[in-house]
Amino acid sequence: MAKILGAIGTSHVPAIGVAVDRGIEDTPYWKDLFSAYVPVREWINENKPDIAVLFYNDHGLEMFLDKKPTFSIGCADEYQNADEGWGIKPIPPLTGETDLSWHIVNHLIENDFDPTVCQDIKVDHGATVPMSVLYPGHQYRGTKVIPIAINCERHPMPKPSRSYAFGQAIGDAIRSWDSDQTVVVLGTGGLSHQLDGERAGFLNTEFDQMCMDKLVTDPESLTHYTNDQLTEIAGAQGVELAMWLAMRGACSGPVEELVNVLIAPISNTAAGVQLLVPKD
């Protein structure tokens, strides 16, 4: 059966992709954040997961309000990205893994989750920034990716408890896939931030650090928040905690924490970097 080797939590804020493009990772603003990725990249190089199951949210590249899935899963051989309107450079396409995608879809629907199935979908910075930062020089062509999107834009959106349970069901699906391939689960986005309104710029790093710690020891305690509570406590876009909860749901059971770093501000956000591996 397929094996989950670990889980990585990471920001996907576009400025990180721009910093990679410009080669300014060593400048004072960026140095601490990129230093945090060094042990994560080393872990990837040592363990070489075959597949990255990547939780992200689309920010209006592929999914407009006309048809907006609550949960969706990529089932394509390849995922392109494109101009998002404000200057992020496209990166080489991601390679898919359709056998596992369909296995996850079948398992989810049998277990009462009903995602939108996407056989042709572009992915935005929510997926490309994590791949750029985890695989320097875009050296991810040997890693297959399954992008799984959670609506974090228009309310109503999945409750945190539901995103966690969604991740749990996906973890069960991966572990029941008849394959010897290995998987890393990526939770992207967050952490606290608010882009819009007169409260723009609000961060809550104390809450973020508590969330990162609880993701290790007691993730279920984080599932009791409502999205309105997360908005108040962690900013309007703090609801992106959903992807971290899905990640931890998928990488369930006791875990050992190898990396836990929180840096702020990164653009208008607090950026978390976390690496968790299952305790066997």
Binding site: T27, P28, Y29, K31, D32, H59, G60, L61, F64, L65, D66, A82, D83, E84, G85, W86, G87, E153, R154, H155, P156, Q194, L195, D196, G197, E198, R199, A200, G201, L203, T205, Q209, D228, T231, E232, A236, Q237, V261, L262, I263, A264, P265, S267, N268, A270
Partner: protein, 118 residues
């Protein structure tokens, strides 16, 4: 009009999504350079093409981001409007909070953690 759910925070829900649909659809078009260019050539005509209501059109022409939020704008698409104008998210943060970009950046920095270098 969309009222804040907590101070300075507008919830983008069904009511806002309905009110702002045409505005957001216009801003969604800014994913494409040819649309950004068409907007720059004649901003008012481009707003009319997407059937923005008068309040939305006025807010676009005045770069009044708060008014756009109050008229159903979603920050995901308004970010593409900002990109079309060459503004960063810190510039937009400054506009919405009545600060310069530098003041807004300083506010972010005042909440900083984990940086030893700057």
């Amino acid at each position: 009009m969309i009222e804040p759910i907590i101070e300075g925070t507008y919830k983008f829900d069904g009511k806002a999504a309905k009110l702002g649909y045409n505005l957001n659809k216009m801003c969604f078009s800014f994913n494409q350079e040819q649309c950004r260019e068409e907007f720059r050539q004649d901003e008012a005509a481009y707003c009319d093409k997407f059937k923005l209501n008068p309040a939305q059109k006025e807010a676009i022409l005045k770069r009044d981001i708060i008014a756009l939020l109050r008229n159903g704008g979603s920050i995901y698409y308004l970010a593409k409007f900002a990109g079309t104008l060459g503004l960063t998210v810190q510039d937009v943060g400054g506009i919405m909070t009545g600060q310069t970009t530098e003041e807004f950046q300083a506010y972010l920095d005042s909440q900083g953690v984990g940086k030893t270098n700057g």
